[in-house]
Amino acid sequence: MTYQLQHHIRVSANQHGITSRRDFLRAVGIAGAAVGATSWTDALSLAADDLRKRQKACILLWMEGGPSQMETFSPKPDHKNGGATKAIATNVSGIHIAENLPKVAQVMDEIALIRSMTSKEGSHPRASFYMHHGYLPMGGVKFPTLGANVVHQIGNAACELPSFVRIGKGRSSGNAGFLGVDYDPLVLQSATRPPSNTKPATSEDRYLRRLRLLQGIESSFAAAEGIDLVADHRKLLDNASQMILSPKMEAFDIAREPVKMRDAYGQTSFGSSCLMARRLVERGVTFVEVNLGGWDTHNDNFSRVKTLTGSIDQPMAQLLLDLRQRGMLDNTLVIWMGEFGRTPTINARSGRDHYPKAFNVALAGGGVRGGQVIGKTDAGGAQVTDRPVQVKDLFRSIYTTLGIDPDHENRSHIGRPIRLVDEGEVVEELFG
């Protein structure tokens, strides 16, 4: 049956630092039927060999709508396609990016810039799905999103916070799919709104007592009609309870940061999100996705992008600096990307339309060698002329950077083996 299969996947693969979760579950009396054959202690013993991977984390800065490469990382000041956007020097000699990102230019030495991303997907839903899952949507298979796959592989279950947090809701950005609710993101509306309803209405003892009572109450529905539903529901309640009873909840409260630090990130929505991302990673969260919408600039591209770059420049630069200063950058991969780029030609409304043929992704930290550009486009930015990087290549590289085997096989609901990435080559230059 589905539920047994799913459960097996979750337990056998979720092999990291179970201790804390187990203690919690013991407190509420785990003896219920919802737990499968593999005991938690077995799972715990499986954990040891993964210590190395454990500290790795990833922050995805998702630019929803498709950011213009010309006004961010690939200016074309000498071509009419480039519009009025100028290029500026960075702290790496020979690398120029758009004038809109002066602060990012000063941390270029940490960034590996791929200017030759290429794909065929030009519609928002499909392209967003592709850039989140490494697969195109396919009927019958519920692919897990990048963050879910990462926390499934290297999530730190010793952390009482959810391993995967998404700040700002994106479209077509996906969830845990067939990996199950354990790997779903905790979605926050924004960084200035920590999760709500996190105080139990009763004393902690009584709250735990109620959860224990609930376990017994569920057995009738779990007998046949809702076996799978009861198990999932239980996991959610456990994860939620574990989170709110944890002292680490303060991670969500960016007001605890010194004013100086908040100013350094900028007290804006995106700045606060980046700061929260760092706080979360610092406290053991494995994957944080920060959403920034508005990049679908079919009209008025130049002034709209200027506003957007204005809101990412300082926070993104500060995030890299801050991670570096705290010694976290080597273990934290930061990814900047959106679903596609924008047309090199400027349309009648001063806009740029969807363009998946040549676009940018920026990577930093996590062992990536910064201060380099990978790939090239022609003078007008229409064609990739050197080192094309496909979406599957990118996904392969991301997993590899995080110490995850891209060929790892999961089993979907129907028992079909699904590799994390089914094609492509690692972009070796990233590590060279």
Partner: protein, 542 residues
């Protein structure tokens, strides 16, 4: 009143329309569906889930038809009723209840507004729900409802039929895609940018369909008193150039963009319906364009099938076609004869939604117990499937369980952001923001979330309602504690209130043992009520 209606019906038949002719017999159609299902899908080895007991059936039809759970009184009366046709009778009674129309009006509001492009589309929400509530309650045929949506004009806060265009900001291509998706269950918009990889539709065909709708626009209503928008039609001649704000003003004709040259105006498209290739000439006025395509839509076999498939999926837990809004000639339904038959009969009923609900609720397929969602290669429809409650269903259930009055409560959840166009929002709206979902999305992908669990467990407002209250101002539970002295009886009462069934022997014992471990009686039953409301069974319709 009813008699008068029948007389009117008789007259109308004589006058012209076959619409109100005798509808296909509900019993016969329900039996035929089960027969066809058995022929098409089942064999000797197929294990069918047993028929539900009465308590489960009652809660199921309540949630499905009126979006609420039965009170303990309703449940007890139903369980004690010896009549053999009580299931059929309760279905008819619920269909006659005003909450029926409201429940399905809210469902369609979610279908339409979940895909809204901008927040301000919620301005149409109240008018939409009011209109559909009346339409469903009065038994308005679904084809006439669809025609209203496709052909409407006017202020969106007064005419709910403008909702689809409002949600799509009057954009020609987006509105076209939604009309096709919602009423035909065909996602021809995938062909908008390129020929569809899996379907037969070509890019031209999508834009030919869009050519029925270029003249619509959604424009702000100029008023200092109130903020609103209106759907307008623009029948002025072609201005000969590309407009930035075509969605506000409307354009004389639709142009298919040139993908290689987005700045150019593109190719002028003649209105043509992709299913039949029927055409209208260029220059046709808006009213005729939309009136004609509305008619062609509702005449199409896919129109009946789209509604039948969606409702079947809601009530049985799985559609013949999945996802429910992605059908069409290139998809294979899981039981072709059944869906074909039921769609035809639905059309013969005069597209009567109540008729369809009566049929489905009487089938054996509907009345089976729930089982976990099947694996793709297992036989479909061997059981019903438990479904997560929609936001409105869950909200109404909480009101019923806790005996709260909707217009007297404060918001039940906190921490939901206020939308710019929502103002403070009613408690129901706020709750819906936290628990609602897009009903067109495959239901198995809708899972609970940590914020939802936290809201149910910890919201002060819900917990206050769950508590026994003070001596002077006892809550519902407080009163029950006073009036029911026997612990076992009280346990039963709370089970009836929350889960609409009696506890099993095992559950009684379990609760009794729990009670023994705690010396405060009020605390015990507060804990039990909290637990029942936070159970998986509570948030699902099984």
């Amino acid at each position: 009143m009813r008699q008068y209606g029948w007389i009117m019906a008789g007259l109308l038949i004589v006058v012209a329309t076959p619409r109100l002719a005798a509808k296909p017999n509900v019993d016969r159609v329900a039996r035929q569906i089960d027969k066809l299902l058995a022929e098409e899908l089942f064999d000797d080895t197929t294990e069918l889930a047993p028929k539900t007991n009465d308590a489960t059936y009652l809660r199921r039809v309540w949630l499905d038809l009126v979006g609420d759970i039965p009170s303990p009184e309703h449940t007890t009366a139903f369980l004690l009723d010896p009549a053999t046709d009580k299931r059929e009778r309760v279905v008819r009674r619920l269909l006659a209840h005003p909450q029926f129309g409201q429940n399905w009006a809210r469902y369609w509001r979610d279908v339409i507004l979940s895909r809204k492009l901008e927040d301000w589309a919620v301005l149409v929400s109240n008018a939409l729900v009011t209109m559909l509530t009346d339409d469903f309650n009065s038994g308005k045929p679904w084809d006439l409802v669809a025609e209203k949506f496709i052909t409407s004009l006017g202020d969106v806060r007064e005419n709910g039929a403008t909702a689809i265009m409002m949600a799509q900001e009057g954009r020609t291509e987006e509105s076209t895609a939604e009309f096709s998706r919602i009423f035909l269950g065909i996602q021809i918009q995938c062909a908008q940018c390129h020929d569809h990889p899996y379907d037969r539709w070509k890019r031209e065909q999508f834009h030919e369909l869009a050519a029925f709708f270029p003249r619509i626009g959604v424009r702000p209503v100029k008023s200092v008193m109130r903020r609103s928008f209106a759907v307008i039609a623009n029948d002025r001649p072609d201005r000969g150039k590309k407009s930035n704000k075509a969605n506000r003003r409307g354009e004389a004709e639709h142009y298919m963009p040139d993908l290689d040259n987005p700045a150019a105006r593109g190719t002028r498209m003649q209105p043509q319906f992709f299913l039949t290739s029927a055409q209208l000439p260029w220059g046709t006025p808006d009213a005729e364009r939309r009136g004609t395509i509305a008619h062609w839509f509702t005449e199409s076999e896919w129109f009946a099938t789209a509604y039948v498939n969606r409702m079947w999926a809601e009530l049985i837990g799985e559609g013949f076609y999945e996802p429910v809004d992605d059908m069409g000639p290139d998809r294979t339904p899981s039981a072709p004869k059944v869906v074909g038959y039921l769609s035809k009969e639905f059309a013969r009923s005069g597209f009567d939604p109540k008729w369809l609900f009566r049929v489905i609720c009487l089938t054996e397929a509907y009345q089976r117990e729930c089982r976990p969602r099947r694996l793709p290669d297992a036989t479909p429809f061997t059981a019903n499937i438990a479904q997560r409650l929609r936001g409105d269903q869950l909200f109404s259930s909480l009101l019923t369980t806790l005996e709260l009055e909707e217009n007297k409560i404060q918001s039940m959840v906190s921490g939901v952001p206020k939308g710019k166009f929502r103002g403070r929002g009613t408690p129901r709206m706020v709750f819906h923001l936290a628990f609602g979902f897009d009903p067109s999305v495959p239901r198995e992908t809708i899972t609970g979330s940590i914020p939802q669990s936290l809201a149910m467990m910890n919201t002060p407002q819900i917990n206050a309602a769950i508590s026994a209250g003070s001596r002077r101002r006892p809550t519902t539970l407080g009163q029950l504690l006073d009036t029911i002295e026997d612990d076992d009886m009280l346990t039963c009462e709370l089970y009836l209130r929350a889960l609409c069934r009696e506890p099993t022997e095992e559950e009684r014992n379990y609760v009794a043992a729990y009670a023994k471990s705690i010396d405060d009686r009020a605390e015990v039953y507060e804990d039990l009520l909290w637990t029942l409301i936070n159970s998986s069974e509570y948030v699902h319709r099984k």
